[in-house]
C-alpha cells in the first residue's frame, strides 16, 4: 500500500509541475469544454421558453442546473489518452513508459488528476460566472446528493478505462481519429450532453440506459439534481458497476496482447 502511495505521490508531483508549466495551453483547452454545455443550455432554455416555460419537467432554471452540474461532471471525468496514444506509439515515448516497473495507466491517471487540480483556477470562476448569468435552481435530495460522490468516482473510472481501452486501438491501426469520432458522437447523445436523456426519443433513451455512456456523465448529474427514484438509482449503480467490470477486463486483456505486439522503433 505504501508503495502505491509513494508511487502516486511521485507521479502527481511531476505531473503537477508539468501542468503548471503548460497552464496557458491547458486553460485554452478549457474554453471548449466550458462553451459546449453553455451552448446546449442556451438552446434548451430557448426551447423551454418557446414551449411555455418547461420541457419534460425541465424549466429554464432547471436546464441551467443540469448543465452547470454537467460541466463539472464532464470536466472531472474526461480524459485525453485516446487522442494522444497514437503519438506515443509513433514517436516512441511509449518505450520509456514500458521500461518502468508499473503499468503506464497509473502515470496517465496521475496526469489527469493533476490537470484537473490546476484547472480549478479556471473552473471555479467559470462556475461562479455561469451561476450568476443563468441562475440555476437546485432542489437537492439528501440521499441522492450523498449517492452522487460514489457515482462520480465510478463514472470517472468507467470513462477513463473505456477511453484507455479505445486508445489501445492505436496498436493495430493508424486511423484512430475515425474510431474516436464514432465514440464521441455516441457519447454526445447517449451520455446526456446534447440533451438530458429524458428528452431523447424513447428508443435512444432505452439504448442510453443499457449502454455505458450515460453512466460516465448523465447518471451522476441526475443524481446530484435529485431527479432519480431510489429504484432507478440502484439499477443505475448496478449497471455502472457491471460496465466498469467489463471495461476493466477488456483493458487487462487487450493491454496484454498489445504490449506483446508492440515493437518499438529501433529495437
Amino acid at each position: 500500500m505504501s508503495r502505491w502511495a509513494a508511487l502516486y505521490r511521485a507521479f502527481l508531483r511531476t505531473a503537477l509541475l508539468e501542468q503548471i508549466q503548460y497552464r496557458a495551453s491547458g486553460a485554452i483547452w478549457m474554453i471548449g469544454s466550458i462553451l459546449e454545455p453553455v451552448v446546449f443550455l442556451v438552446v434548451w432554455s430557448t426551447v423551454a421558453q418557446a414551449q411555455g416555460g418547461s420541457v419534460e419537467g425541465y424549466g429554464v432554471r432547471e436546464f441551467a442546473a443540469y448543465y452547470v452540474v454537467l460541466l463539472i461532471v464532464n470536466h472531472l471525468t474526461f480524459s485525453w489518452t485516446m487522442h494522444d496514444f497514437q503519438f506515443r506509439i509513433q514517436f516512441g515515448s511509449l518505450s520509456f513508459d514500458l521500461l518502468r516497473p508499473v503499468h503506464p495507466i497509473h502515470g496517465d491517471i496521475a496526469a489527469n488528476l493533476a490537470y484537473k487540480c490546476v484547472m480549478l483556477v479556471v473552473m471555479l470562476p467559470a462556475l461562479i460566472v455561469l451561476t450568476i448569468a443563468f441562475g440555476p435552481r437546485f432542489a437537492p435530495v439528501a440521499w441522492s446528493l450523498a449517492a452522487f460522490a460514489p457515482a462520480l468516482v465510478l463514472a470517472f473510472l468507467l470513462r477513463f478505462l473505456f477511453e484507455w481501452a479505445l486508445a489501445l486501438a492505436a496498436f493495430w491501426t493508424t486511423r484512430v481519429t475515425a474510431i474516436n469520432q464514432i465514440y464521441f458522437s455516441l457519447q454526445m447523445f447517449l451520455a446526456g450532453r446534447v440533451a438530458p436523456i429524458a428528452l431523447l426519443p424513447w428508443w435512444l433513451r432505452d439504448a442510453a440506459h443499457d449502454l455505458p455512456f450515460y453512466y460516465m456523465v448523465g447518471f451522476p448529474v441526475e443524481l446530484a439534481l435529485g431527479r432519480l427514484t431510489p429504484t432507478a438509482a440502484l439499477v443505475g449503480f448496478a449497471t455502472q458497476l457491471l460496465w466498469l467490470v467489463v471495461t476493466a477486463a477488456i483493458v487487462v486483456i487487450v493491454w496484454r496482447r498489445a504490449a506483446v505486439k508492440f515493437a518499438a522503433v529501433g529495437s
Binding site: 496557458a24 495551453s25 485554452i28 483547452w29 474554453i31 471548449g32 462553451l35 459546449e36 453553455v38 451552448v39 442556451v42 438552446v43 434548451w44 430557448t46 426551447v47 418557446a50 414551449q51 420541457v55 419534460e56 448569468a133 486511423r175 481519429t177 475515425a178 469520432q181 464514432i182 458522437s185 454526445m188 447523445f189 446534447v194 440533451a195 428528452l199 431523447l200 426519443p201
Partner: protein
C-alpha cells in the same frame, strides 16, 4: 494575374500529393458524414420538443448547418493547413526559404498546403444547403442568391483575415497554435443561430471570434431574412480586416529576423 497562376500551381501540387493517399478520402468521407449526421441529429432532437428555435424553423436551421459545413471545409482545405505549416516553418527556420522566393510571401504562406479531401465537408454542406432550400416554401430569388454570394465571400475574407492575423502573432510569440484552438472551440457555437445566445456571448461570437459573420449571416442571407445594414456591415468588416491583416503581416515580417540571425 501572376498571383492567380501561382495559386493554381499550389492547388494542383496539393491535389496531386493528396491523391496519392486515396484511403484518406474514405476516412475523411466517413468522418465528415458522421459529423454532419450528428449535427442534423442534434437539430432533430431539439425540434422534437419545439417547432421554433428563436425564430428559426427546422428547415432554416438545416440551411445554417449547410453553411457551417461549407465554411468549415473551406477553412480546412487551405487556410488552416497552410497557416499551420507557416507556424511550424517559423520554429524550424524553413520560413527563410519562403522569404527568398520572388513572390509575395503572404500569398506563398497562405496557399502552401492543400488538404483536398477536406472538400468533402464543402460538398456535403452544399448538398444539405441545396436540399434545405428546395424544402423551404419561400423561394430563393435572384436577390437572395446575390446576397448569399456576397455574404459567403465576406465570410471567407473575414475568416481568412482572422486566421492570418492570429498566425502573424507567431513573429512575436511562440505556441500560437494554442490560440488557434480558441477559434475551433468558438466555431462549434456557430451550429446554432447567434441570435439565441445571451448578449455577452453574442458579442464575443461577433467581434472577438467572427463566427456570426462566418456562418449566421450567410445563412440569414439565403433565407431572405438579412437586414441590408447587416450585409453592408459584413462587407465593411471584410474589407477592413483584409487591409488590417495585410498591414499586420508586413509589420510582423519587418520584425522577423530569420532563423539563423
Amino acid at each position: 494575374m501572376n498571383a492567380l497562376r501561382l495559386i493554381g500551381v499550389f492547388l494542383r501540387v496539393g491535389f496531386l500529393s493528396e491523391t496519392a493517399y486515396r484511403a484518406n478520402f474514405w476516412i475523411q468521407s466517413f468522418e465528415s458524414a458522421l459529423n454532419l449526421s450528428m449535427a442534423l441529429a442534434a437539430i432533430a432532437v431539439v425540434f422534437s420538443q419545439t417547432d421554433d428555435l428563436g425564430g428559426w424553423r427546422p428547415v432554416e436551421l438545416t440551411t445554417l448547418i449547410g453553411v457551417y459545413f461549407i465554411v468549415l471545409g473551406a477553412i480546412n482545405v487551405v487556410t488552416a493547413p497552410s497557416l499551420q505549416k507557416f507556424l511550424e516553418d517559423i520554429v524550424t527556420g524553413n520560413l527563410d526559404y519562403t522569404l527568398t522566393k520572388p513572390a509575395d510571401a503572404q500569398l506563398l504562406v497562405s496557399f502552401a498546403e492543400v488538404r483536398v479531401w477536406r472538400l468533402v465537408d464543402v460538398v456535403l454542406g452544399a448538398g444539405v444547403l441545396a436540399v434545405s432550400l428546395t424544402l423551404n416554401a419561400e423561394r430563393v430569388g435572384f436577390v437572395e442568391a446575390a446576397q448569399f454570394t456576397a455574404a459567403m465571400l465576406c465570410s471567407g475574407a473575414i475568416v481568412y483575415s482572422f486566421w492570418m492575423m492570429l498566425a502573424t502573432l507567431a513573429f512575436w510569440f511562440i505556441r500560437v497554435e494554442n490560440v488557434l484552438q480558441i477559434f475551433w472551440a468558438m466555431y462549434t457555437a456557430g451550429r446554432w443561430p447567434i441570435g439565441i445566445y445571451p448578449q455577452w456571448l453574442r458579442w464575443t461570437l461577433t467581434l472577438v471570434v467572427p463566427v456570426a459573420f462566418a456562418v449566421t449571416v450567410p445563412a440569414q442571407a439565403v433565407s431572405g431574412r438579412l437586414p441590408g445594414a447587416m450585409l453592408l456591415g459584413a462587407v465593411a468588416l471584410a474589407v477592413a480586416l483584409l487591409a488590417f491583416s495585410r498591414w499586420f503581416w508586413l509589420k510582423g515580417l519587418q520584425h522577423y529576423s530569420g532563423a539563423s540571425a
